[in-house]
């Protein structure tokens, strides 16, 4: 009986956050033109990459570099940039809520502060990323041609993107919550985001990097945020053999969720709420 009640309570709770996520996604979709226009800079980035890599392949005379053809390379970069630019700044939202005192209102409401932010984050991010892929993909198609995605790679890749962006959320939310102790968390986030961009394979596939850097990147969780999901789409990781990768993503999410929860609990103890 107790188990039944708990399951039903968990279900109701999950539905609550699902509803928050859906409302955020619908709100983003209502302004989709604005969302796309704001990402026009992505076109410039992909266009520049297309020029750089087309020349690189031409100059070296190689048809594949580190296992990537020029088409795969550009589509890989479309995916990594689309995901990166599509991710909502969760750290800034958390930081803002703590500094402005908004968190005080949340504590008295019937939802979890972190899960609420996650629901809004994932709702908006999952509208922005596909829009970015369409925009960046259009540039890639015009410059180097289309790439063939299998249905399996799209399905498994999408799941991996969701897990990767969740992992990014868990880490960046933890950084945002450092606002309980530090006046300025922007520098921590920037440091993390730059490491993630470089060692997470956003600007270059890890295979292109010098061997010592590859060894460092291999043990960092940043590779599971964008690099691995993008490789599923480009066919460098077979969808049928992606289970271990998905499990590693889940494991990293679990580890950082524990850390995030600890930071949040300690932070709330640290917070002093004044009337107003």
């Amino acid at each position: 009986m107790m188990n039944g009640r708990r399951v039903s309570s968990l279900g109701a709770s999950a539905l609550k956050y699902w509803a928050i996520g859906v409302i955020t996604a619908k709100s983003s979709l209502a302004y989709i033109t604005d969302t796309v226009l704001r990402q026009v800079f992505l076109v410039v980035i992909i266009f520049t990459f297309s020029q750089l890599w087309s020349v690189t392949y031409r100059v070296t005379g190689q048809s594949t570099i580190a296992g990537f053809s020029v088409t795969q390379m550009l589509w890989y970069l479309v995916l990594t940039e689309a995901i990166t630019l599509g991710q909502v700044r969760a750290a800034a939202a958390m930081d803002d809520d703590v500094k402005s005192g908004q968190i005080a209102y949340t504590l008295s409401r019937p939802y979890n502060f972190i899960l609420y932010h996650y629901a809004t984050y994932i709702g908006e991010t999952l509208v922005r990323i596909p829009a970015n892929i369409i925009l960046g993909g259009a540039v890639a198609s015009l410059t180097v041609g289309l790439i063939r995605f299998s249905i399996a790679s799209v399905l498994v890749g999408t799941l991996s993107v969701v897990l990767g962006t969740t992992l990014h959320f868990v880490v960046s939310a933890g950084i945002g919550l450092l606002a309980f102790w530090f006046e300025e968390t922007q520098s921590f986030y920037l440091l993390y985001s730059r490491v993630a961009l470089l060692l997470g394979g956003v600007m270059l596939p890890l295979e292109i990097m010098p061997a010592p850097v590859q060894r460092v990147a291999a043990v960092l969780p940043t590779r599971y945020m964008i690099y691995e999901p993008a490789r599923i789409f480009t066919g460098h990781v077979q969808a049928s053999g992606a289970a271990p990768l998905l499990l590693r993503q889940v494991a990293w999410i679990a580890v950082f969720s524990i850390v995030l929860n600890l930071v949040y609990r300690e932070g709330v103890k640290h917070a002093s709420v004044q009337g107003g």
Partner: protein, 281 residues
């Protein structure tokens, strides 16, 4: 005389009064000191912005080092060229936004009719608008550019001089382009986002070796979006120096300054006041 004409007259009068280099330099210096003092008051925030930009620039340089580690020479460009490119650009861009940080706000000021406050003061409107804000993160760019040049730029006395002049040219070309892009607001109304994207685009294009662009794209980069002026022209000074080239590139920079001033003045004739009561503290 309409208010716009009055503004133009004052702009000219102000220009005359500040046309003497010492007057203009004094004004710029006074504003810079005031702006920096204000930024430094928010110590942690100022340090964070400077540090953030330094890290951001470092990441791009590391990207290029990784790239040229794998592909040592691409169409005549190697690692050393990209080190010079980034150190020159960062230093020029950084000084540009530190001294003339309000350039990127011009479109907003025009669209909202907030130029009035500058029209009523006895200084050149354009110069006064440009210097009335300083972008703190620009110090991060300057720091990055100077450190990278000192550590990786193989500095010699001659190269230091060329670097300083190249950075100055780069900053001039960039600032003038931003003025031109932002001045579009005089002619097409609210173009804040468009102007900002144009500015972002030119910075992005100029951070890549020009050798990767071909045909019509190269033409665009030396005309409509003159990223080639910001990056290629100054860096050629470092690669192959000649006095005739210095004269040519200096004339190009002077031409760009004149063009941006003329376009701003032409736009100012169309400016409509927002009748806003604005206080400047």
């Amino acid at each position: 005389m309409s208010r716009e004409d009055s503004g133009l007259a004052q702009d000219r009068a102000g220009s005359a009064r500040t046309s003497g280099l010492p007057g203009a330099v004094g004004l710029i210096k006074a504003y810079l000191v005031a702006n920096v003092s204000m930024e430094v008051e928010y110590g942690a925030s100022f340090a964070a912005r400077v540090f953030s930009m330094l890290i951001n620039d470092c990441m791009w340089l590391v990207f290029w080092i990784f790239y040229f580690d794998r592909f040592p020479v691409v169409r005549g460009w190697g690692r050393q060229d990209v080190v010079w490119l980034w150190s020159l650009l960062a230093t020029g861009y950084g000084f540009g936004v530190v001294f003339f940080g309000n350039a990127s706000n011009l479109a907003r000021l025009i669209a909202r009719g907030e130029l009035d406050v500058y029209l009523t003061q006895p200084k050149s409107v354009l110069l006064h608008v440009l210097i009335s804000r300083s972008v703190a993160s620009g110090w991060g760019d300057v720091g990055f550019g100077l450190i990278v040049f000192a550590l990786l730029g193989e500095p010699t006395p001659v190269r230091c001089l060329l670097f300083a002049y190249g950075a100055l040219l780069s900053g001039v070309f960039h600032t003038c382009f931003v003025i031109l892009a932002q001045s579009l607001a005089f002619f097409i109304g609210n173009s804040e986002t468009f102007a900002s994207q144009l500015s972002q685009t030119i910075v992005h294009f100029s951070t890549y070796p020009t050798a990767i662009y071909d045909g019509w794209i190269k033409i665009i980069l030396f005309t409509v979006i003159p990223a080639g002026f910001i990056s290629y022209l100054p860096i050629r000074l470092m690669r192959s120096f000649s006095w005739s080239y210095v004269l040519g590139v200096t004339a190009a920079a002077a031409g760009f300054i004149m063009l941006s001033v003329l376009v701003f003045r032409a736009g100012l004739r169309r400016y409509e006041s927002g009748n806003l009561v604005v206080s400047r503290l």
